[in-house]
């Protein structure tokens, strides 16, 4: 039995020893205690015994460490003139406790030899027993364990507060957890994902006092892989394995704002059930069950920068949501490679949204006479969404199996009332259009996925097979009414009025099969190796059919008594089907070189000899829409990766990737039906349209440092690409600013992107954390389109820079400074340049005051400038005051003052090809809100409850 890997955990400990020793250093904490731990009876010095020093008469932990191979320990930065208690613990031995006091003059207390006695030997009688404390840290085999009880935090602390105190562990401001630079991939509670598996859900809800210990351990990434991933498991106390946690909150504000929420979650050793509801009219729109759960997290005693309502989101949303979540494990102690689990989530939301906007779009058409479009829109929407997601998964050592049924229902209504006009850049009006578009549609979808994966079992031909089957059935029914009145000032005869009704139904049925066989050489060549090249055979077959029927009726006058007459052109029945078959021979070779205790270098190269066959067929009542096409393309790929891991120093990953991709024109691009009721945008056909073929290369480099107290991660990436026969818009403007757009092929699309990210976290003594994140990205591109049938190639440049500094001092203060600066320019073929600059600065702070009160505030400065319109500035300032009451902090009262500077607007600003769009939209307006929240929290087993 050969151990193949150096123990990461043991290495963590060795490298960690200094950080464990680090104490708050000041003029009082200048002393040191040292000694040896020995088993006198068996004549040896005990390695990895835990030595902890507490303040006498309390269980206030001042310092702790593990003994080294000499049984020796040294704990520094201890106070003088204070009674201290030294506690030594080691598995299988009685614990040892001793009172000491260090004098100012000596600054050193040598405990010399501390003798431990085995359990079951003579019972160690200590006349000095004063506290009953657990060892803070211990090493059990290859699992590092932190005993929660040894760390004394405020009674209402949660797991997150505890983890911030542990040596080597960094919780980044974006939620990432690293241990000595290595990313924690999975966080479990009792070996299982906790309410959706997001680490924050467990860390911000589970009370620290319900935790027995936090375990850190490595598992291999795959059952037969040498790569390992780092896991954290929260082990609960025996009597706390059942729990109820949740939140009931009522928030009432000025301007009629309200925010109601309720959540109740129950769990035991095998089952987790949660019910969550939310209703608000303050733009807090939950997306799924997980986001609902995270919005209702308890959070502990530490400081954090809280979520704020989005004052940039256009419009006002009123939302109601209900979520149910269920998880049940059929086996007691699941692992990453053995589980039998069922999950079910149900999510329903009802959202009403109103947006009022005033938008100006500047069309730079290359003639020197730009056209400006002004639009005032009132958009009201309503949506009812219901989503059920289920998963059954069964994993064992050699075989994974899963079934995931998904049922989705959406009922949506959109009403858009707009007044649009065009004018020249000299403000001469050209046209106007008034329209009311009411669109109601229902979408039903049933998706079923199932598949299996085999790993290496007995070297049989059934090893390394992946199979997935997807059945997707969808029905969409629509009911739309469009009223519009268009007038051209250039040509007074050109007055068009539409009163049009649409009834449509789309039925879609799609079947997909994916089969990947990763050991083709074993099947074909009977274990004859060709330079150890692995041959895989990957197939992806999709057959999709859509039946689309639409009935369109027109009324030619505004007389409401007049009947609607069928529009023969737009009324249509269409059957569109496609078959997409991607087949690839994947040749891969892995070279691994590991020098014991020095480095591991893994190189992997994969060539995808991939072909794609795509056949499309359309049958329509309109002859010009009847078409049948097929394509055969070679879409190869190549990937090269190199990983260099130097023990105790760094891990570096280099990836070079080449991909090709084909996109096929859709029926709406080849032969659309032109709906002339759309006044300013008409779709035109291009039956000669070809497919587009894109090739990209990319390179990424990632580095993570494994040095303690100096967590550094950085990432650099470059990518470049070109597209042949890119499907672009060919835009033709008429004199009054109406656009007709046809899809067309154009060469010349190229781009280059570069990005860099640096993250660094530094623990300053035991009290502060400073985190710095720098992000940079750059893109240069050439994108073609046609303007009035002339090829225009825009040269685009964009640059984004972001700096984020986060500082946290004990549990009292958190400060976050974030600044981003972005530039975007687009230069047309004729030299006209569109420029846009944006600067955003966010300053947030949160201070925990005595008596469980917190004050927090954030200011968000936004400046937008472009060369076609006036600059836009925005300053959003929010402030909160909250207080928690009761023994368990179960009641929270919070007063929020939002948008104190009464900006009351949102900025719209973007460049797209030859257009630049600016404007404002209505947003949440300044309001004050008082919120009462109650957090029911019971963590104990059933017997105890009785």
């Amino acid at each position: 039995m050969i151990l193949r890997k150096t123990s990461f955990i043991a290495t963590v400990l060795l490298f960690c020893s200094l950080s464990i020793l680090a104490q708050k250093k000041d003029s009082v904490n200048v002393c040191e205690a040292k000694g040896f731990v020995k088993d006198q009876a068996n004549n040896y010095f005990i390695q990895s015994a835990t030595v902890a020093i507490y303040k006498g008469g309390t269980s206030n932990l001042l310092g702790y460490t593990l003994t080294d191979s000499f049984g020796s320990f040294s704990i520094k930065n201890l106070p003088y003139g204070v009674p201290l208690i030294v506690v030594v613990t080691y598995t299988g031995y009685n614990s040892y406790q001793k009172k000491i006091q260090i004098f100012e003059e000596s600054k050193l207390f040598d405990l010399k030899e501390l003798n431990l006695e085995k359990k079951g030997d003579n019972i160690q009688v200590l006349d000095e027993v004063t506290i009953n404390a657990k060892a803070p840290v211990s090493l059990k085999g290859d699992t590092l364990e932190f005993n929660a009880d040894a760390f004394h935090l405020a009674p209402n602390a949660v797991v997150e507060d505890l983890m911030k105190k542990l040596p080597g562990i960094v919780i980044w401001s974006d939620g990432l957890i690293t241990i000595n630079g290595k990313k924690v991939q999975r966080l479990f509670v009792e070996g299982k994902p906790f309410f959706g598996g997001k680490s924050k859900t467990a860390m911000q809800n589970l009370p620290k006092n319900s935790v027995d210990r936090i375990q850190v351990y490595n598992t291999s990434a795959d059952n037969h892989s040498i790569d390992s991933i780092l896991n954290v498991n929260i082990k609960l106390k025996e009597n706390k394995k059942t729990g109820i946690f949740g939140k009931v909150s009522i928030g009432l504000g000025t301007r009629g704002r309200s925010d109601l929420g309720g959540m109740i979650n129950w769990f035991d050793s095998n089952t987790q059930i949660g019910i969550i509801g939310a209703a608000n009219n303050s733009n807090n729109v939950p997306k799924n069950v997980n986001s609902l759960i995270q919005n209702n997290s308890f959070k502990g005693v530490g400081v954090s920068i809280e979520y704020q309502p989005d004052f940039n989101m256009p419009g006002i949303s009123r939302s109601q949501a209900l979520g149910l979540t269920f998880q049940h494990d059929f086996i007691e102690n699941p692992t990453s490679f053995k589980n039998n689990r069922i999950n079910a989530d149900y999510f329903s939301s009802k959202i009403n949204k109103d947006i009022l906007s005033r938008i100006q779009t500047n069309f730079v058409n290359g003639t020197g006479k730009n056209i400006i479009q002004n639009a005032e829109c009132k958009n009201e929407s309503y949506s009812l969404k219901q989503d059920f997601d289920g998963t059954y998964s069964n994993k064992n050592k050699n075989f994974d199996f899963y079934i995931t049924p998904n049922i989705f229902y959406l009922d949506e209504m959109n009403s858009n009332d707009s007044n649009t006009g065009t004018e020249t850049d000299a403000e001469i009006p050209l046209s106007r259009n008034k329209s009311l578009d009411i669109n109601n549609f229902k979408h039903k979808k049933a998706l079923f996925k199932s598949g299996f994966k085999t790993r290496k079992t007995k070297n049989s031909i059934w090893d390394f097979i992946e199979f997935d089957y997807i059945l997707d059935s969808e029905i969409t029914t629509g009911d739309r009414k469009m009223l519009s009145e268009f007038e051209s000032f250039e040509d007074s005869t050109n007055l068009k009025m539409f009163d049009r009704k649409y009834q449509s139904q789309t039925e879609k049925l799609s079947n997909s099969v994916f089969l990947n066989y990763r050991k083709l050489q074993d099947l074909l060549l009977k274990n004859i190796s060709i330079w150890n090249i692995n041959i895989g055979f990957r197939n992806n077959l999709t057959f999709n059919e859509e039946i689309n029927s639409s009935k369109v009726f027109d009324r030619t006058s505004s007389d409401t008594n007049e009947e609607y007459l069928a529009n023969d052109y737009l009324t249509n029945k269409n059957r569109y089907s496609f078959l997409d078959y991607i087949s690839s021979i994947d040749l891969s070779k892995t070279f691994a070189k590991a020098f014991s205790d020095r480095y591991r270098k893994t190189t992997e190269a994969t060539i995808n000899l991939q072909t794609q066959y795509y056949a499309q067929k359309n049958n329509s009542e309109h002859q010009f829409q009847n078409l049948q096409r097929s394509y055969r393309e070679f879409v190869p790929g190549f990937k090269f990766s190199f990983e260099h891991h130097k023990h105790g120093s760094f891990n570096k990953v280099y990836v070079f990737d080449f991909k090709s991709k084909v996109d096929f024109p859709s029926i709406d691009q080849l032969a659309p039906l032109t709906d002339s009721s759309s006044a300013y945008l008409l779709r035109k056909a291009n039956p000669g349209l070809k497919r587009q073929y894109a090739q990209t290369i990319s390179f990424t480099y990632k580095m993570s440092s494994e040095k303690v107290n100096n967590n550094l991660l950085y990432e650099i990436g470059f990518s470049a690409g070109r597209t042949e026969d890119m499907i672009v818009d060919s835009i033709t403007y008429d004199k009054i600013g109406r656009r007709s757009i046809a899809a067309a092929n154009a060469d010349g699309h190229k781009y280059f992107r570069g990005n860099a990210l640096v993250q660094r976290s530094h623990k300053i003594a035991k009290t502060s954390i400073l985190q710095l994140t720098l992000a940079f990205s750059l893109e240069l591109s050439k994108s073609p389109n046609y303007i009035n049938e002339n090829l225009n190639t825009s040269q685009n440049f964009s640059n984004y820079n972001n700096i984020n500094v986060y500082y946290e001092w004990t549990d009292i203060l958190a400060v976050n400074f974030q600044q981003s600066y972005s530039i975007l320019t687009s230069t047309l073929s004729n030299g006209i340049a569109l420029k846009n600059k944006s600067l955003r600065t966010i300053m947030s702070t949160s201070v925990n005051l005595p008596r469980e009160t917190t004050v927090s505030s954030n200011i968000n400065f936004v400046t937008n400038k472009n060369n076609m319109s006036m600059p836009n500035n925005l300053i959003i300032w929010n402030a909160n005051f909250s207080a928690r009451f009761f023994k368990g902090n179960n009641l929270e009262v919070k007063f929020s003052a939002l948008d104190l500077l009464r900006q009351n607007k949102s900025v719209v600003n973007y460049i797209d090809g030859n257009t630049i769009t600016t404007g404002i939209a209505n947003v949440l307006q300044n309001y004050f809100m008082l919120t009462f929240s109650y957090y029911p929290r019971i963590f104990r087993n059933k017997k105890q409850q009785k």
């Binding site: 039995m1 050969i2 151990l3 890997k5 150096t6 123990s7 043991a10 290495t11 400990l13 060795l14 020893s17 200094l18 088993d39 068996n42 004549n43 040896y44 010095f45 390695q47 080294d68 191979s69 000499f70 049984g71 020796s72 040294s74 059990k140 085999g141 290859d142 190796s529 150890n532 070189k593 590991a594 020098f595 014991s596 205790d597 020095r598 480095y599 023990h647 105790g648």
Partner: protein, 409 residues
């Protein structure tokens, strides 16, 4: 008939082996004691092996010690490296140069201490051995009894002992011997017979340990031999096989008595051991120096490592992991396990030569130990060659050989 045959196969070893001088050693790993380096060893020498491009190696898979050289097999670089006793690189035999290529690596070699020749099984020709001198120069090709699967030991009179075990229901119904001796290409003695087809213990049941099953003794007129699922330590001479020690373990660690012979668990033994990882499946790395027997007890539990020293006079057991480093070893633990390494856990003491016992350390662990000592204020006066090593070497340097001379009492 088959049952009778099996019974005979089980009984036969007792006719061949002489149990009269067998000493019973009771090992309770829980009740081992600790000690210090200076109490257990008379001498500790730390020899850094030279680091340069042509002699950089991964780890020490096999170590043979001659009067002038350390001969090291590194399977990953597919080479046998020869270093002088002071650690200076001398020469090497690359696998590629002798036909070990296309993914085939040298997995073992033998050393004839009498003729001072290195013997490597031929990669291309059955029953052929390649012979090299200690400068890595090929001397001759020897035809004779050879199998690249077998472990080989050469006695001082040139008698060769080999051990191999191949049992599978697909093999012919024939008797083979787990251990046999030969001289001048003719078979001399055969021990431990088994039926290749019907033996209840199949090849697939065997968990191999890293070392060959032969362990040098102070005098090379005899060799110790161990095998899986058998707690006996055998002594083989040129004409006799004795059971010299029999290990008895506490029930918690002990295999069921019929574990080796039970037909019901054929091809399932490895799985059973993984399910009960506490069980000791073999005894290995057995070296007797004076009255001390060094021994390793193997289990599938990655966290259970027993490397012991049994004093056969006093019956005292010292756990090697509990030997505290002191000034004699310049405060370096004698194994890398103290600093989180896995070399000792995997390879243990790799060989002996005369009164000396050998193990090794990676430079990473050695530097880590040095830094831990400096932090804890443990300072030692290093000999000049170690001062030079710390000055010129780094964590990526080649391994260090630890040469230990145990006390004889």
């Amino acid at each position: 008939m088959r049952t009778i045959l099996l019974l005979i196969l089980v009984i036969i070893p007792y006719f061949y082996t002489n149990a009269q001088s067998t000493k019973i050693l009771r090992f309770d790993p829980e009740n081992s004691t600790g000690s210090s380096v200076s109490e257990v060893f008379d001498e500790v020498n730390i020899i850094p092996l030279e680091t340069k491009k042509e002699c950089l190696f991964n780890t020490i898979d096999q170590l043979e010690i001659t009067n002038n050289f350390f001969i090291i097999l590194d399977q990953q670089t597919n080479s046998i490296l020869i270093f002088e006793k002071n650690g200076r690189f001398s020469s090497k035999i690359t696998g590629q140069s002798i036909g070990y290529n296309n993914g085939r690596n040298i997995v073992k070699f033998a050393y004839n201490r009498q003729t001072e020749r290195i013997l490597v099984p031929s990669p291309t020709t059955q029953n052929e051995t390649l012979e090299f001198d200690c400068n890595g120069k090929m001397m001759q090709r020897i035809k004779g009894i050879s199998s690249s699967f077998a472990d080989l030991f050469i006695f001082s009179d040139g008698t060769e002992a080999r051990t191999e075990y191949q049992a599978d229901s697909r093999l012919p119904d024939s008797i083979a011997y787990e251990l046999y001796t030969s001289k001048n290409a003719s078979l001399r003695r055969k021990y431990l017979p088994y039926n290749k087809k019907y033996s209840p213990l199949k090849s697939k049941d065997i968990l191999h340990s890293s070392h060959s099953k032969f362990y040098y003794q102070e005098q090379d007129t005899s060799v110790l031999f161990t095998r899986p699922y058998d707690y006996n330590i055998y002594r083989l001479t040129t004409n006799k096989l004795d059971t010299c020690f029999k290990i008895i373990l506490p029930m918690y660690y002990s295999l069921p008595t019929k574990f080796r012979t039970d037909t019901l668990i054929s091809n399932k033994r490895i799985q059973l051991l993984k399910e009960q990882p506490n069980l000791i499946y073999s005894v290995s790395n057995t070296y007797q120096l004076g009255n001390n027997l060094f021994i390793k007890l193997n289990s599938t539990n990655n966290n259970q490592h027993f490397s012991m020293i049994y004093n056969i006079i006093s019956d005292k057991i010292i756990d090697v992991s509990k030997i505290k480093a002191d000034q004699k070893s310049y405060f370096f633990a004698i194994t890398d396990a103290a600093v989180g390494g896995i070399d000792f856990k995997n390879k243990n003491f790799v060989n002996i030569n005369g009164n000396y016992l050998y193990t090794f350390y990676s430079s990473l662990r050695f530097f880590m130990q040095k830094e831990a000592n400096e932090r804890a204020g443990r300072s030692a006066i290093y000999p000049p060659h170690l001062v030079e090593y710390f000055r010129m070497g780094n964590r990526g340097s080649n391994h260090l050989i630890i040469q230990l001379k145990p006390k004889t009492n």
